[in-house]
């Protein structure tokens, strides 16, 4: 028994420090399927309350769609529950390869390799394809999983200011002597909901002989006219060298991710990426669900069109109510409150009004940039959004922030 009193107390002290700093995270138990309306137990032990969900990554409303559930059942019946093996021993079924081919077709890439999650894809890809002679140049707001992946890679790492193409070009010039240069960005940035300038980035990468990596986790399925992603939206389909994305958000919402792109890079991942080599891949039931999702999305743009209309309605409503929003046109709509305590109070008051939306503050977003991040779904109907707008207006009025500028809100509450 090596877990001594001293060790226990040391951990208790660390946890107390996290709590004192207001950074302690607590899960809220949901008693229903994921949908526009969910039943939430909050605080723990309270009777579940039915609320409108404004903070899921369920962009296309497919997490509990009957067609996806049916396909998952069929996959469970025909291919079983698990494989008890990594891919290269005896853990690859025909449907895994089928999904890789379908993803390549959907994203317009040469080849694809599945990973247990997009976190794993991002953690494994850079180490697999880069050496100490290479450089990674990333946007300063890329997702945490990309930062972890870059830390594991032997290549040197540099950054450029968020979406600043002049700064990116300076960095490409600075590192022009490197063997391989990779420019790294999110397609849609998860906290701000803005979109990378992929057309300009492709042009710079071509000029300076660099590869382009894009994480499309908050884009795949709904950004661009047919939902292929930010590369479709920016008119650069087929020009992105490496795309990573997730099946845990719009594409069914269960789990799993992939690296998709140039076939040699995908093959390097198959040979060297450690999360692929040393972990089981996606379970057959999930693979079957995602195959059904891609099939649905390839036939019709109905769901992404509804999402686009819902997003426009939501943004217009919040703007007219007098909230400060981050610019953008994606379903991620941050309502800026700037002060961390205000963001927490606002979220709690919304819950009392039957609206579930979470406050984000430092260190998840920069100091003084606290917000309620709302996320729109095709599962929402206009009556959901109207009810949510009524609640936002009521809570906004209570806190006296409607029609106030950033500066006025900061003067009232502090940043």
């Amino acid at each position: 028994m090596a877990y001594s009193k001293n060790v226990r107390e040391a951990y208790q002290g660390t946890l107390a420090t996290i709590k004192d700093a207001g950074l302690f995270k607590q899960e809220r138990f949901i008693h229903s399927v994921q949908d526009a309306e969910i039943e939430v137990e909050f605080p723990a032990g309270a009777a579940p309350k039915r609320v409108i969900n404004m903070c899921a990554n369920n962009y296309l409303g497919l997490s509990s769609h009957p067609d996806v559930i049916k396909a998952a059942h069929e996959g469970l019946d025909s291919r079983g529950y698990g494989l008890s093996s990594v891919r290269f021993i005896c853990g690859t079924q025909d449907i895994h390869r089928e999904l890789e081919e379908k993803v390549s077709e959907f994203l317009g890439t040469e080849d694809t390799i599945l990973f247990p999650s997009c976190m794993d894809a991002n953690a494994g890809v850079f180490e697999a394809i880069l050496t100490a002679e290479d450089v990674m140049i990333s946007d300063r707001l890329v997702h945490a999983s990309i930062i972890d992946g870059m830390r594991l890679a032997p290549a040197i790492h540099d950054t450029f200011k968020h979406s600043n193409m002049l700064h990116l070009e300076q960095k490409l010039q600075l590192h022009s002597d490197k063997r391989i240069k990779v420019v790294i960005t999110d397609g849609v940035f998860s906290m701000d909901g803005d979109t990378a300038k992929l057309d300009e980035m492709v042009a710079l990468c071509e000029k300076y002989d660099a590869m382009l990596f894009v994480d499309e986790s908050h884009s795949s399925g709904f950004i661009g006219k047919t939902g292929r992603g930010t590369h479709e939206y920016c008119g650069v389909l087929g020009k992105i060298d490496i795309i990573t994305t997730t099946f845990g958000k719009a594409l069914g919402g269960a789990s799993g991710g992939c690296v998709s792109g140039r076939k040699e890079l995908v093959e390097m991942c198959r040979q060297k990426a450690r999360p692929y080599l040393f972990s089981n891949t996606i379970a057959p039931v999930v693979v079957s669900g995602v195959l059904s999702v891609l099939d649905t999305l390839s036939k019709s743009t109905e769901r992404r069109d509804k999402l686009e209309a819902n997003t426009a309605f939501w943004r217009k409503g919040l703007t007219e109510a007098g909230f400060v929003l981050k610019d953008g046109n994606t379903p991620i709509v941050p309502v800026m409150l700037f002060n961390a305590k205000l963001a927490q109070d606002f979220s709690r008051d919304l819950f009392d009004e039957g609206i579930y939306a979470i406050g984000f503050f430092f260190p998840v977003v920069p100091n003084g940039q606290a917000r309620i991040r709302t996320q729109i779904s095709a599962a929402h109907d206009i009556h959901h959004l109207e009810k949510a707008l009524t609640a936002f207006r009521k809570v906004g009025e209570k806190h006296g922030i409607l029609g106030k500028t950033k500066q006025e809100i900061i003067e009232k509450y502090g940043a």
Binding site: I156, D158, H162
Partner: protein, 81 residues
């Protein structure tokens, strides 16, 4: 040496500051105050090596040696000489 410090200070301001309200002096702790992260030190090191035609060995480019404009200037000055 003063000129060297000015060059480095100007680079730090242009490269890392997004917010004009943050003031940086020769002695401001860059890493411990979170103005420069350890990843971004790479560009600073490469900029100095290129501008002054020097090579700073990796074992000398430590977070401590890069924690203020004055300390960086001392390190660079050593290699220029």
């Amino acid at each position: 040496m003063e000129n060297l410090k000015e060059v480095i200070l100007q680079y730090v301001i242009n490269e890392y500051l997004e917010d004009d309200s943050v003031e940086v002096t020769f002695e401001t702790p860059l890493l411990t105050k979170g103005i420069v992260d350890s990843f971004s030190m790479v560009s600073l090191k490469r900029f100095l090596e290129s501008k002054y035609e020097i090579q700073i060995p990796d074992d000398r480019a430590t977070p401590e040696a890069f924690d203020s404009v004055s300390k960086i200037a001392e390190l660079v000055d050593e290699f220029i000489d």
